[in-house]
Symmetry: D2
Subunit: 397 residues, 4 copies
């Protein structure tokens, strides 16, 4: 029903990659028969980590997809991780922690020392450790350059102080990538100077977290995170001090693509569920799925989902090939969130009143896709990006 496997094959570029793509597709299909939407909702209701799923994914080697073979992984790049997440979310398991861990480890693989890869990436390949990502701050919002969390040199390492907000799954992660300033922003200097990227342990006593009142019907919650004299060693700094923009964007572009496919998957899951419903619901005798007023919005959503999916896989492959994917990764996230909201909205509409009953598990799909129109980067900032950097128009803000 979707273009992902074909797209992978067409885009893969080498027989080995094609073969891995097929292997991942098969594995995910089998896995999500066991750990399905019901399992995900159980974990949500019990507000607990999806430990069994995670454990099984580790056994199946799925966490080593995306880690180069020379570093002990199965290869497959970002495209491979996108495909794994597509498998999860298309089955109704939009697992943010998988996304977070994958995009956070990407800059470590690209910019880290062998020791840092050993320390921070290796444990993610078994599933033993997960990585949260702390970037957004209350006052800075989408303006990353204004962040105030600071890291100052301390006993050969660093001391972090500050606060972050909208940090997903912080309580389930053992590690946390933190964007901080190692030099304050000084007027006149480039705003980009002074940004650095760290990885810390979440169980450090100086790290505290408070859940936000955000209901995503997901086992993963959102947190405010506070850093009070979080002292870390020198190995916590990934890439060069104060020049962390490139490092950071090697997390942010994968984040956009993994976010895109997380949405798109949920969109397809919502459509599949609705297809079942509208084929049997028939208050006037004919299944409502035979009415174009029902069928056309679903078909439109499907076309938009597939277009967004293709843009996502294409960008992931381009990222793996070393390309600059800022434009298409932003577009993919924008289109993916849009299309999945469209799909879930159709699902709600065509389930009628039942669309609002959480027991029917339709309304429960909405917040997590709608969120991605504001996170990790809101639609407006993406349009600003395209306007300025793709179309060459003057800055508007």
């Amino acid at each position: 029903m979707n273009v992902s496997t074909n797209a992978m094959a067409a885009l893969a570029g080498s027989p080995e990659q094609s073969e891995l793509a097929r292997h991942v597709a098969d594995t995910m299909a089998a896995l999500t028969k066991i750990y399905d939407r019901g399992y995900f909702l159980t974990c949500w209701r019990e507000q607990r980590f999806e430990a069994e799923l995670w454990s099984r994914m580790g056994e199946l080697g799925l966490f080593s997809v995306g880690v180069p073979e020379e570093q002990g992984g199965m290869g497959g790049g970002l495209a491979g991780m996108v495909q794994v997440l597509d498998g999860l979310s298309s089955a109704g398991l939009p697992t943010m922690l998988y996304s977070l861990t994958c995009f956070s480890r990407t800059p470590i693989l690209r910019h880290g020392t062998p020791e840092q890869i050993e320390r921070f990436v290796k444990p993610t390949m078994s599933g033993e450790k997960k990585i949260a990502f702390a970037i957004t701050e209350p006052d800075a919002g989408t303006n990353t350059f204004r962040i105030a969390t600071k890291a100052t040199p301390h006993k050969g390492g660093w001391r972090l102080n500050g606060a972050k907000v909208f940090t997903s799954a912080a309580n389930h992660a053992e590690l946390m990538m933190v964007i901080a300033r190692t030099r304050p922003y000084t007027p006149g200097a480039s705003r980009r100077e002074g940004i650095s990227v760290f990885v810390i342990d979440t169980n450090h006593p100086g790290v505290q977290m408070t859940p936000l009142n955000i209901e995503l019907y997901s086992p993963e919650q959102q947190f405010q995170v506070f850093f009070n004299d979080v002292d870390v060693g020198p190995e916590a700094l990934i890439g060069p001090e104060g020049q962390g923009m490139e490092t950071m964007f090697d997390a942010l572009n994968p984040e956009r693509l993994l976010s895109a496919v997380l949405c798109i998957g949920v969109g397809d899951f919502a459509l599949a569920k609705t297809i079942d419903y509208v084929k049997q619901r028939a208050p006037f005798g004919r299944p409502i799925g035979a009415y174009q007023g029902v069928q056309h919005p679903m078909a439109r959503a499907k076309a938009h989902l597939d277009a967004a999916r293709l843009m996502t896989y294409y960008s992931a492959h381009a990222f793996d090939a070393g390309g600059n994917v800022a434009a298409t990764a932003n577009m993919a996230k924008y289109l993916g969130a849009q299309a999945s909201v469209e799909a879930v909205d159709a699902a709600i509409q065509f389930h009628g009143g039942y669309g609002f009953d959480a027991d029917y598990d339709v309304i429960t799909l909405w917040p997590i896709v709608r969120l991605f129109k504001v996170a990790p980067l809101n639609d407006e900032m993406i349009l600003n990006y395209i306007g300025e950097h793709v179309l060459g128009l003057p800055k508007s803000y």
Copy 2:
């Protein structure tokens, strides 16, 4: 900020009506300073009826707005009730029970005997009693003609058996208007034959109710209601037996208009809240409300809200003047739900991540407006109505 008071004045048609409109506007403004959104949310959190608000509305005579002066009311018609609800919901109190009581008593005023008015309407004028409305059934959905709840003659009165779903606020209401069949649907006969309208006591032992798992962030919940040998007297039947279509539509058209204004009010409340936010939020130095990417969607939503509001008031006046308002009442509900979803969606988007945090009370405005695209009649059925009955196109379903 909105056209309601002006619209009332322009549409009122007589100085007396204009004066009442101004009185209602002033009263509502003062009332909702005391019983505000915070009060509404408190009642929601405590899952209790808005008793203090209700009591004060009774003291202020607001429940007698809409009841003709010759029946002891203040007059003002449906338009007056629409205005009262506009005042409530524009202040963040989308009180479905007010809507339910008002539209349910309208057919009693039009088709009931003096005794029925005394018995069922009078107690609503003091606020002593509220009326729920039970029409939708699981299998029939939007096809009212297929309802299976039946009322059979029993000891000079009627015995009701059946089940309803999506009955709002059933637990807070003392009375319930029930649409039932007094004659089974027989092929060949008009589908309309056999529909009758009843009013029963909700504390009758044969009435049972189960809440649905629908979260509207409202003190009023949704219920499944079961009728098991609910025996009532002959006075429970409103209007002629088996010919209840006209009676029923004198509830349904007001329901559409009160639903419309309930949405529209929430839309304006959401905009007002967002205006405050975007005037101070300034991650890049300038308030985001000064960006057209933020300002234009809000302006568009406002234009759509005001157009829907005007259609609503216009239809209410036309209803009061005895006109057939089926077309414009349907349009008003359709446009009102659409515009309010647009407004609340903008509110969510421009609050960024906070738009999803229930403590910020933005996401909490979404379900109740989104619901009105499927209830009381879904958008698709409204478009079918317009297609067939306004445009004269062939039936499509």
Copy 3:
């Protein structure tokens, strides 16, 4: 099929007005049976003025609708003129010259001397004279304050020099209202100071005009107009010198409302034509009008047209009652243009390839409605107006 007559009756406010509304409705219905869409297209093809229609309208007294009885007219105000134009455009005759003449004479009626009314308005009541309106300039665009056409005192009167663009029907009009500066814009002074309103004869030797290459499938073309030492007497100045903003807006607000109804009428004409087509077109055996994919877009367009129409009539009545209608007149124009483009777009789509064949007269309806999303004020400026003046947001441009 539309709400106009009912809306007029409901909004009219007095029995006399209601009666006039009915008279106008009847007259227009009869008139457009004779002078119909075919007549309009003939005038377009021959690129000539609709002289026979105009002459008949004069005989029927239709040009005196909107002129107060004390000035020899039939009364009915702007609402009456809106209704006349609704009658024309709903029949497929979107006659801009009627709109231009009506909104241009309105500020003369409000701000002119008795002599000016005698000289400029009276001849429009018989149909003997028409008035064009020259405001937009190439560099100023929507920024009226930047206009450079100037009027300087000359021999007790005024001498005009400058150039205008997008002046409709200039070649068919005997008179032209011209917005000019009598004082240059000086930094520091209010931008509004120095604007004045004139009426001149189009056959003045200093007036030259060049048609633009704009195809609206209308007898009325667009022109660039040049003023070279156009000397006029003191009576050419309407209202106070240099304080012409209020005068000007008594033309601009009616212009928005007449533009709105011109669009809306064409939208209804397009729907009516499409209804006929989709009821008989049946490539798969069933009329395509029975498919919701065809029926729903038409029904949506109809709801939007009627909401825009109601906003238009409401604003016209409010204008006649002396109200400030800037907000709702802008909304009405915005919504009217939007809805009519939606209707004509549906008409094109559902006529398939024939929708593009000018002989089928569907594509020919598009430019004139689409134009009203940029004229007389573009959508973006209207949203800016609502944002700033209705919502109270900061200026965005």
Copy 4:
């Protein structure tokens, strides 16, 4: 500015293909500097074939792109032809005749005999001959199975009789592919039985054509074509008699993809033109391109164009690899037409009144993109296809 070259490289699958893609990109860029939009408009004004462009394309070997090397071509497949047309239309030359010739020769390459390839395809590789495509009939519309044009055996060959409509560029083409029935549709039999594909000479005396009144601002007009005893030899039949569905769809799927890219290119051309304009237009002092009300709609259109383009290239490669591309080719055409209408609509809107002046060449871009929402297959039929064949919903028409 667009993803095409990158997409080609990523999707190409072999170094040879990548190299050809780069060669085509360079060649097209150079070619359209000489034969540019001005040239295209000149041909349109003079209503003549783009002979010089065609001749130069032949010299450059561009017509042999898409013909396999073993048949004397340069290879590159449908993807190559898509890229050539992208180059043309992105430069403002939406040359339908290139599209028509390319998709019409595709089934000949796949199903024709060596003699037929020699006779019908070879002359297209030099540019000596062009092929028109005659399928749609007045009564059948989108229901191809209802076509009435018939071919009956005649003297060892065939005799064609019937009529077609909306046949593009018929007067400029030397050859014409004609879909005809060799067996009448008989109730009970499969509707697909009896369809056959022919290629005839347009200068056959039995072929007559009448132009339709459709203005696309293109050198290529639309025609009604009549076949009166058009006698042809046995070599005119491509593929098996009466089983022509597969043959036909090897034209129709390429047609959808070439149509998609024709639109998308024009969309990009419109955006590029508008970018230039909004960077200098500044009625309020700041370029209007710096306002988000202008910038965001253009950015959205760009995202949609690129997504549609990616879907188009992806499907073309899949077609070349022997895949079944019906679903994604339909989606690509749907998305491409949608996105290009969005882009051209933005271009019109942001040029203000000038957007309607043909001399500014903006309005002139609209009909050709808008047409592709109804042709070659209308949006509604595409949504029906996706609904039924991708989502598995019941047939709705």
